[in-house]
Symmetry: C3
Subunit: 288 residues, 3 copies
């Protein structure tokens, strides 16, 4: 079993956000790690793009499982202040306009992607999990939230598109407009996680599933995935692109700027209570 | 907190079916009350249209919660004998051909609508609840039924359209063709209610959700709702119109007339056992 | 109550796979019986076609319930070695290219079809159950699996189409790509069975539902079904045909031939452990 930082060969970065653990040629575990809050930032996006290049071209790979090195955060929201930065490293590109391509490529990749969720998956982090083919979540420790509307913004990373297809209009409206936390049990009941699993069993459960599928023929897996994609639908890149650009346009809303300032004051992006209890704290913020 | 009969200013009616309780400028509770059976009648439709005019134009309003003054009936089926009456009051218009417009407007309104369901929501009453953005229902006291097929008719108020999208083909067929009662637990499992909530907690649960959303920025809420509408789909007015007119055409079926007579004899529209146990009683009626 | 082998009049076969129990003119129970493994074979397909001719033209029939005479297998996978045989009997036709027509006709038939599932419904057997309008399954004894991908093949009988619509993309991918068993409880939670019912209550539950619907007017039932079909969608014959032909093309994959040989050696199509525990055994087979 090899452990490989995603940028190992390129040596362009000392701060890998993603590390590949090659459990076998057919099954990789991908560790997400951007301390201290596991924010989604331009370097993480760049590394995801490099990973996807690998995923698309590896002839032996069948299953990738994404998990977090941080027990509190599976993957967090954007590092908002650096959201438009484009770092000088492989795979780097602007988030706006390019995230829809990533989602589309991952959903159509000839490899099965699984999000194994412990801790918080909020905003962009939830939207990344939704872009994976399947989600299995810790009954005790997973929390999902699209907090954007509570911060005078909207989810622009695919959350609306995936949830609308998975949970239907009324529950998608509840998740998007309440901007609140939803645990794994509700996720299973609503349908946005495949299953809620007791935390103590989550690793072995996902491992067994991944190993099982990794034994099957790649052509059969890929054909099965393409067939489901054809009928169950994946959001079009155009649909994703429109949401992505609605989010970009939110910067023109004065109330979004005010809410952002207020959230920064309350602890946004800093280690502490606000980040741990983001959705709850949104309900407490005085009206903007 | 102001309490306002919907027709207060117009003084055209002494028998308000709807009363607005303005909990705040952003959050209204709408009380449905048409004793003794909370039938949906042309006056109630007229008041709903007036309410919708208000909802669409109020710049401060963000959330409306519909609830019933009658603990046995959230909202009941049509007052069938008066179904084609057009009363002389604001908002009055023929049900056939115009209900689809109401549903379409409510689903696209810049305000979030929630049905808080206690008691029976049957036929048109269930279809109204389905037209709301979200539904939260009393675990012990809510009952949902599309009784139409059991009375040799069909649901023409949007029930087929919403259920098909929320619960899928097989469960929509079960609900429509069995014409039976479904409680809140099944509603949650099938997906046509957001959640089943213990009756004692229902009020505070919905109140907290409504208050939370009412704190958020109206533009963010409205944009989020439009985005979900764009992807999750709302039935087109054309689709709703077709169902509405299939229902209208049922008057040409001889078996529908016979079933209607039989149900009238059994207690349709009268206070008593038949109305309380409509779906159950349908199963007992001798074959038409 | 009459019991009628489906081919009684034609006398072309001594080995009826289907027997009609006419519980009433409006409600038939169809017994599936092809000992010893209840494999789906060309004779069973022929009899299903004859049955469908009857279903489509009978003016009194309203509900058909499919159940198995074999407590271990509701309906099993293809009798693979005889898959392309066309027997000399009424209703016989090649499976490839014609199964999509059967599914389309059943879904649009003016009669409600219910699968009452005990035992295993695997591969084609699961796909047949999915083609029925509703599914009620034994909590203790039903098992559903699309085992194809585990055997280096793909589901070509409609499984992808129906599951994509009923359970959404992520759970459809899980079912198709894991090729594993799913019980009735998960089936209910995921949405591919209407309800999981305690085995001891299953018969009376389905019987009561069928009898209830059989009392209602045929025109109302048929109109309700057509309305749900129009909005909830049934897979198009073209979509089903494409999956059917992808499956046919799998014979060109060398890995499929190897997997087939390996499964034959392990006990495919023979009474014993492999057939009882097909999905589990797939996970144990050494990599092809």
């Amino acid at each position: 079993m090899e452990t490989i930082p995603i940028l190992e060969n390129e040596q362009k970065s000392n701060d890998n956000r993603l590390t590949i653990i090659r459990k076998s040629p057919a099954y990789w575990s991908i560790i997400i790690n951007n301390p201290p809050l596991n924010l989604f930032d331009p370097k993480m996006f760049a590394e995801l793009n490099v990973l996807l290049d690998n995923i698309e071209t590896d002839n032996e790979l069948k299953v990738v499982v994404f998990e977090s090195a941080d027990e509190d955060f599976f993957m967090n929201h954007h590092d908002v202040e650096n959201r438009t930065t484009v770092p000088d490293q492989p795979g780097a590109m602007p988030f706006f306009g390019n995230w829809p391509k990533f989602v589309t490529r991952l959903a159509q990749a000839p490899v099965i992607s699984i999000a194994k969720v412990r801790g918080r998956a909020r905003a962009q982090g939830f939207e990344f999990a939704l872009a994976c083919d399947m989600r299995f979540a810790s009954k005790e420790r997973a929390k999902f939230a699209l907090v954007e509307v509570g911060g005078s913004s909207i989810p622009g990373g695919g959350g609306v598109e995936w949830l609308s297809a998975l949970v239907g209009r009324s529950r998608a409206l509840e998740i998007v407009l309440s901007a609140d936390d939803f645990d794994a049990e509700i996720g299973e009941r609503y349908g946005f996680v495949n299953r809620s699993i007791a935390d103590v069993e989550l690793d072995s459960y996902v491992d067994a599933l991944a190993e099982r599928m990794a034994k099957f023929e790649k052509r059969a897996l890929e054909t099965g995935k393409k067939m489901v994609n054809a009928r169950a639908g994946i959001p079009s890149e155009g649909d994703l692109w429109m949401s992505n650009h609605i989010l970009q346009g939110v910067d023109l809303w004065p109330e979004a700027g005010k809410a952002f300032s207020k959230m920064l004051d309350a602890g946004l992006g800093k280690v502490g209570n606000f980040e741990l209890n983001f959705a709850e704290r949104l309900g407490d913020l005085p009206t903007v």
